[in-house]
C-alpha cells in the first residue's frame, strides 16, 4: 500500500487506515474495495486515490494525482462525488434509493424529502449516498425528522445540471 518509489518522491503518501475505517463505519464499504490503490495528498484540503503502479514526475510538481477521494479538515471527512460514483456500489449503510423526481432534485442541487421507508439503511444524521436505478449519483446530507428526512444535495456546482433543461421525469 506504499506506492512506487516515483509516487513517494512526487507526492505525500497518506496512511489510509483511519479513512478506510471511517468509510466502513459510515457506509459499510469494506477496505478491500480499495485494494490496488494508494491514498495521496498532493495539496492541502483533499486526499486523492491513485492506482498503486502509478509513476508521476516529481518535477513539474503534480497538481492532482488520480481521483479526488475525500475532503479533509471537516468535522467528518466528505467523500468526493467522483469517489462516490466510483466506489458507491460497495456501500451497504447510509444509502438512499431515490425515485426520478428526487434524483432530478439531487442532480440540480436542490434539497429533497425522503420518505421513512427510504431510510431503512440509514443510521442517522450525516452523509448518505444517493442511489438511482442502481447507480450512485453522489453524496447528500441527511437530516432526519418525524416524517422521514430532508436530504441536502452536496453535489458540487461543477457537476450540477441546469434545472431548466435537465429532466428525468418529463416524458
Amino acid at each position: 500500500m506504499k506506492g512506487t518509489p516515483e509516487l513517494q518522491q512526487a507526492v505525500k503518501i497518506v496512511d489510509p487506515a483511519p479513512y478506510f475505517r471511517y468509510l466502513e463505519e459510515r457506509f459499510g464499504i469494506p477496505p478491500s474495495t480499495f485494494d490496488g490503490y494508494v491514498l495521496v495528498q498532493p495539496g492541502r484540503k483533499k486526499v486523492y486515490i491513485v492506482t498503486a503502479d502509478h509513476r508521476p514526475p516529481a518535477r513539474p510538481r503534480p497538481r492532482t494525482v488520480g481521483l479526488p477521494f475525500l475532503r479533509i479538515y471537516l468535522k467528518f471527512p466528505k467523500l468526493s462525488t467522483a469517489a462516490a460514483q466510483q466506489f458507491g456500489h460497495a456501500a451497504t449503510r447510509n444509502v438512499i434509493d431515490v425515485d426520478a423526481a428526487q434524483a432530478e432534485a439531487f442532480l440540480t442541487r436542490r434539497d429533497f424529502r425522503a420518505r421513512p421507508e427510504q431510510l431503512t439503511l440509514c443510521t442517522g444524521r450525516g452523509y448518505v449516498l444517493v442511489r438511482y436505478q442502481g447507480h450512485t449519483l453522489g453524496v447528500g446530507f441527511l437530516i432526519p425528522d418525524e416524517e422521514g428526512g430532508c436530504v441536502e444535495s452536496m453535489l458540487p456546482k461543477s457537476w450540477a445540471r441546469d434545472p431548466d433543461s435537465f429532466s428525468l421525469t418529463a416524458s
Partner: protein, 311 residues
C-alpha cells in the same frame, strides 16, 4: 439529410487548398453542413450496447462508427451532454476526428504516457481508458482554467491513473521522463473546426510564431520519449505550415534517430500527407501522415503524424 446552407460562404483563406483537395465541390459542400456529434463509451464503467440503449431511450439516434463500434455518431443538434448517463461518466462527447490520435498512439496498460497539451482532457481520457485505469498518464497544459476542465473530465469518467501538471510543454522538465509514448495535440489555427465555428477562418493559419511553438512542442516531446517509443503529433487545421512543415523540421533535426510510421486506421478514409508545398520539397516519408478533409468521412478537418524514436 442535414440541410445544406448555401449561405455559408467559404473563407478566402481556404482557396489556397484547391490544388491539394481531391474533390473541391464535395469539400465545400461538407463545410456548409453542420457537424455531427459523437459520443464514445467509457468501457471502464459500461458497455457500448448500454450506451446505445441509453441514448436511444433519450430519443437520440446513435449510429456506431464504421471504424469504432464503441463510439456513436449523433445528429448535429443532439445534446448528449445533458443526460443522466453522461453525469454517470458512461460516455464522453467528442468530435469523431478527435478519436483518431489515441488508437495510433496505442498506449498499453502499465506504461508511462505523457499528454503534453492535454486540456480539456478528451484524449487524456481515451488514453487512460485504453490503459485500463492502470499505469501512468501525465496530462499537462499551460492554461490553469483549461486544466480545471481536465480535472472535471477525470472526475466524471472515474480515471485513477492520471496526474495533472501545469507547465509550458516546450520547456517540460526532462527529468520527468522518459515516457513510453507522448501525445502532442498542439494549439493550432483550428481551421478544421469550421463546421462548428465559422470564426476559425479569421485565425491566421500558419503564423510563424504559432508554427515555432508547435515545432518546439514536438521537439520537446521527442526528447521526453524513450528510444524505441512513440510520439503522435496532431492538429485540427488544414494549414501545411502547422502540419507537414512542422514534422519536416523536426525530422530534419533528429535525422536517423526519428522516423515516421504509417498513420492509418482501418475503415476511416484519409488522404496522404503532402511531400511538397508551395514549390518546397518535404521529407518523402511525410506521405505516411494522415490528412483528414471534412468530406471524406463527414467530419471536421484533422492531421496526424505517428513518429518512432529509434532505439
Amino acid at each position: 439529410m442535414p440541410s445544406v446552407s448555401a449561405s455559408i460562404s467559404i473563407p478566402s483563406a481556404f482557396l489556397r487548398y484547391r490544388a491539394i483537395v481531391d474533390d473541391w465541390e464535395a469539400f465545400v459542400a461538407a463545410l456548409r453542413r453542420p457537424l455531427p456529434v459523437c459520443a464514445w463509451t467509457n468501457t471502464l464503467r459500461t458497455t457500448p450496447a448500454q450506451v446505445k440503449a441509453a441514448l436511444e431511450a433519450e430519443g437520440l439516434k446513435p449510429e456506431p462508427l464504421a471504424w469504432r463500434p464503441d463510439a456513436f455518431r449523433l445528429p448535429p443538434d443532439s445534446q448528449p451532454g445533458n443526460r443522466l448517463a453522461y453525469v454517470l461518466g458512461h460516455y464522453h462527447v467528442q468530435e469523431e476526428v478527435s478519436l483518431l490520435p489515441v488508437p495510433l498512439l496505442d498506449p498499453q496498460p502499465g506504461e508511462r504516457v505523457l499528454d503534453l497539451c492535454a486540456a480539456p482532457g478528451g484524449k487524456t481520457a481515451q488514453i487512460a481508458v485504453r490503459m485500463q485505469n492502470r499505469g501512468t498518464v501525465v496530462a499537462n497544459d499551460r492554461n490553469p482554467l483549461r486544466l480545471r476542465q481536465l480535472s472535471g473530465t477525470i472526475e466524471r469518467l472515474g480515471l485513477l491513473n492520471v496526474t495533472t501538471t501545469l507547465h509550458d510543454g516546450a520547456d517540460y522538465p526532462l527529468e520527468s521522463g522518459p515516457f513510453d509514448r507522448v501525445l502532442v495535440d498542439v494549439p493550432c489555427s483550428c481551421e478544421g473546426n469550421f463546421r462548428k465555428d465559422q470564426q476559425v477562418a479569421d485565425a491566421f493559419a500558419g503564423a510563424p510564431e504559432l508554427c515555432g511553438l508547435q515545432t518546439a512542442l514536438l521537439h520537446r516531446a521527442v526528447m521526453l520519449c524513450r528510444p524505441g517509443g512513440r510520439i503522435v503529433y496532431a492538429t485540427c487545421t488544414f494549414a501545411p505550415e502547422e502540419n507537414e512543415l512542422v514534422v519536416d523540421a523536426v525530422l530534419r533535426r533528429w535525422g536517423e534517430a526519428l522516423r515516421l510510421l504509417p498513420a492509418h486506421l482501418e475503415g476511416f478514409r484519409g488522404a496522404p500527407g503532402l511531400i511538397e508545398w508551395n514549390g518546397r520539397r518535404l521529407h518523402p516519408s511525410l506521405e505516411l501522415t494522415l490528412r483528414v478533409w471534412p468530406h471524406l468521412n463527414d467530419t471536421g478537418g484533422f492531421f496526424v503524424a505517428v513518429l518512432e524514436r529509434q532505439a
